[in-house]
């Protein structure tokens, strides 16, 4: 936790606070989009394609239409022209749905049945018969017919090159050359991908869980040719996001069209299996890593080449080499990434999109190199630690990586580790300790907010923010209370509605930095107004004083020497009702019109790896104990310790949950989850939440989290680096490294399962 009293006048920032929306969440009153009351809705049920590539020759709809209560069946023949095709997560063309007869992937939406009841819509959907002209699909890497595309540097990704990595690798005294793979994964938030559309004349209201209120609003407006003011999105709570609700998907516009056609609100609650193909996912990746080092452990060469799957029309990619090239001091760096196009749905953001799949190979390779050199894996990181970005020599805004390693190692008991693989046992269990570096770039975007304050000391902040589980409501209340000198309970926070001032989508761990900095700016504007009025007043204790010397604290305007004027007096001087400000914040390095662009639904982002002044990352170290049963090869992870340094922590209670949840995602990523693909038909096989394994309560043991104090005055005014993603990043490699330590078996492909160790 940051301990910077000067930057937290009210003392709330950095103090644990229970969630202000906690009561709503434990009483069933928190309203997720599908919970919004809707008058007389019709129900939609999706028909999805049974082939992965080809065309729709025709549909037999008679039996479906004959089901009592059926109102409409949307398909390419009757509504194909009514929407413009959607854009993918990267803002570029992606797969289509009802716009044409084309089938791009298995499980693509091919019809939408609308009926009076959910039961009737479902029955009718199963009676829709689709006549396909099927072609042989290409499922994934190494399938015949896939097309590889080497990527070039663009606005969001770069492929660092420095020195001569190939020559340095060839000449290096110690070499590590290995290939790694990460699997297809689906977010599987517990909430389904619901959409409810309600028309009121020309105005469309969309109730849909989203991580991007204004992004969804703008996307649907564009697709339907509507004025932005006529589209409103509402998502007061989202039942988990993890990136899966970050980009607009095809379904929304069709439900809007359906509602317009049947002249009733239309509600869609897709099935769990449909969520695997109507939304995005984390694509499978392959990696080739070459590390060259001196015998001392100092790195001489790093080469990281990656391959990622995407759909046919989209080149969406995550290109985590932007990160891996910046982890360790190294004079020679080469990176390259290719997208491999297959007959699949377009992937998208999933928790730590670039870093989870790309740090896995790097951090395994570092562990392998350490073993090869006979150097402790922590010490190998220390030898190659750096305070300057190895790619371009910029300083890190702050980098506390080794402090994280040291804190976590002490708590974990790393000193008890016998470095010899397979040497530690407990009865029938082989015991392994593993660790890895975690990191995530510190991103911040422009944001806007409206803030009011009454003489009674009640504040209200409004912004189109997103509560996806991060504790966003509480975060806002804490910052406003802190800056206005109020109690957290005095702050009312309204979010989740695009009728409110826009903020960026909640992704890439930017939310806390973007929204708290605009909130703090709004508070400062109110303080300044009150202070100015107080010093300019003919009467009053601060008449003629310097307004900069007046602070808001304990429901009063406080001057030098502790002189106090009650808030009621100070605010009443300006208004007997409330003062209100509307504030826009454009972080350093972004275009001055970045806030204006937000009102068009266009998000720009200052990315930590690509700033001009500094390189900004949060860092962490993750440790895990793995136990592998000698006879059954069952793998358990009974305890883990993760230490993170991420600048200012606003609410340690919610931050702890974020870190811990992220670490559990890491264990899941290492040992549990993978979407299995039937390569013959390019179809996801385990498309339900029982066969797609995620940890249950009994899978998770002790999950310690350490907050390593860090002050960062350069990353942004409040010193916030963001914490939503970093918790997952290092854990998958830590587990793989622990499995090696337990068994001597190096598994370079996730997830690691019993069959890999037999």
């Amino acid at each position: 936790m940051a301990d910077d009293a000067g930057r937290r006048p009210g003392g709330h920032i950095g103090q644990p606070h229970v969630r202000i929306d906690g009561r709503a969440k434990v009483t069933g009153q928190a309203r997720y989009p599908a919970d919004e009351p809707t008058t007389n809705p019709a129900w939609a049920y999706l028909v999805i394609s049974a082939i992965a590539r080809g065309r729709i020759r025709g549909m037999q709809l008679e039996a479906a239409r004959a089901v009592p209560g059926v109102l409409d069946i949307l398909n390419h023949a009757n509504v194909g022209q009514e929407v413009k095709s959607p854009m993918g997560p990267d803002g570029k063309p992606t797969t289509t749905t009802l716009e044409s007869d084309r089938v791009w992937h298995d499980g693509q939406i091919v019809a939408v049945v609308v009926a009076d009841s959910f039961e009737a819509a479902r029955e009718a959907a199963y009676k829709v018969v689709v006549d396909y002209e099927a072609e042989t699909p290409s499922a994934t890497f190494d399938s015949p017919g896939v097309q590889a595309e080497a990527l070039k540097t663009d606005a969001t990704h770069s492929y660092p090159l420095k020195g001569d990595a190939a020559a340095a690798f060839a000449a290096a005294p110690v070499k590590l050359d290995a290939r790694y793979e990460t699997p297809t994964q689906h977010h599987n938030p517990l909430e389904l991908f619901t959409t409810t559309c309600v028309w009121d004349g020309p105005k469309l209201t969309i109730y849909e869980p989203t991580q991007s209120m204004w992004g969804l609003k703008a996307a649907v407006a564009r697709q339907l040719g509507l004025d932005l003011v006529n589209v409103r999105t509402v998502s007061r709570f989202a039942g988990g996001g993890f990136g899966g609700k970050g980009a607009p998907t095809s379904r929304t516009a069709w439900i809007a069209v359906a509602a317009r056609r049947v002249k009733r609100p239309v509600k869609l609650v897709p099935t769990r299996d449909q969520g695997f193909t109507i939304a995005t996912y984390r694509a499978e990746t392959q990696h080739h890593i070459q590390l060259g080092a001196e015998r001392s452990g100092r790195l001489l060469a790093l080469s990281h080449e990656g391959w990622e799957i995407s759909s046919r029309p989209s080149s969406y990619n995550v290109s985590g080499t932007t990160t891996t090239a910046r982890m360790y001091a190294c004079p020679n760096i080469a990176t390259k990434v290719s997208v491999v196009h297959a007959d699949r749905n377009t992937p998208g953001f999933m928790r730590a999109p670039p870093d989870t799949p790309y740090m896995f190979p790097l951090e395994c390779a570092m562990d392998e190199l350490a073993h090869e050199l006979g150097i402790d894996p922590i010490e190998l990181r220390r030898i190659n630690d750096t305070q300057t970005d190895p790619v371009d020599g910029k300083p890190y805004s702050s980098r506390s990586l080794m402090k994280c390693f040291d804190a976590a190692a002490a708590k974990f008991g790393w000193a008890r580790r016998n470095p010899q693989p397979g040497s530690m046992r407990d009865g029938d269990w082989l015991v392994g300790y593993g660790c890895a570096t975690s990191c995530y770039p510190s991103n911040i975007g422009p944001a806007t907010a409206r803030l009011s304050l009454t003489p009674q000391g009640k504040a209200a902040i409004q912004l189109a923010g997103h509560e996806i589980g991060t504790g966003a409501y509480t975060l806002m209340a804490i910052v406003v209370a802190d800056r206005l000198g109020l109690a957290v309970e005095d702050v009312q926070v309204t979010m989740g509605d695009s009728d409110l001032p826009p903020v960026p989508g909640a992704g890439g761990s930017n939310n806390a930095a973007s929204t708290t900095n605009v909130a703090a700016k709004a508070c400062e504007e109110i303080r300044h107004k009150l202070a100015l009025a107080a010093v300019q007043a003919g009467a009053g204790i601060f008449a003629g004083a310097d307004p900069a010397g007046l602070k808001l604290a304990d429901r009063a305007l406080v001057g030098p020497g502790g002189r106090r004027e009650p808030l009621a007096t100070a605010v009443s001087r300006i208004s007997s009702g409330a003062i209100e400000v509307h504030v826009e914040n454009v972080p350093q390095g972004l275009a001055p019109d970045a806030a204006a662009a937000l009102y068009q639904g266009k998000m720009s982002m200052s990315r930590g790896a690509e700033r001009k002044d500094v390189t900004a990352f949060a860092f962490g170290a993750q440790f895990v104990e793995v136990r592998v049963h000698r006879r059954t090869c069952e793998i358990r992870a009974p305890r883990a310790v993760s230490a993170f340094a991420a600048g200012t922590i606003v609410n340690p209670l919610a931050a702890h949950s974020q870190y811990q949840g992220g670490a559990i995602w890491g264990i899941s990523s290492a040992l549990h989850e993978a979407t299995e693909i039937d390569r013959r038909v390019a179809r996801y096989v385990n498309d339900n939440i029982a066969d797609y394994l995620i940890p249950v309560n009994a899978d998770i043991g002790e999950m310690d989290v350490i907050f390593v104090p860090e002050e960062d005055h350069r990353v942004n005014p409040l010193g916030i680096k963001g914490i939503g993603e970093i918790g997952i990043v290092g854990m998958n490699a830590a587990v793989a490294n622990a499995v090696f330590h337990a068994t001597g078996r190096r598994i370079r492909k996730l997830p690691i399962r019993i069959e890999d160790l037999l």
Partner: protein
Amino acid sequence: MELTLNINGRDHRLSLDPRTTLLDALRDHIGLTGSKKGCDQGQCGACTVHLEGRRVLACLTLAATVQGRPVTTVEGLAHGEALHPMQAAFITHDAFQCGYCTPGQLMSAVACVHEGHARNDDAIREYMSGNLCRCGAYPKIVAAIRDAAPQMAPKTGRV
């Protein structure tokens, strides 16, 4: 079909398609949206409610089969403004993030205690493993149950 459901001590007269699940009846016909649909096939536990005091999955229960049998949902846990000790413990321990699985976790947690399965952390983990939490709040759910269990009044009548 016409039927009467007793939810949280109150009778609701409804006209439903016989295929309607208890979960859809609660959410879409009675307006009690606390119980959540996470899979609609009995895999996730987000729809867990109490039927005659036992935990059941509302998505796998046809509404027509619970006529005349008392159902308690998350909306029925608190007594007026006073939260159930389990609800209070979930808030104190931050035993949720997005909150979507929370109604089901709470109903399972209360049942877990009444069943006598909250004896120790391992037992809690085992008997709470029918309720998935994608945010990863499991350690805090265990801590909340451990805390709330002694504060809960012994259950009378059927488990």
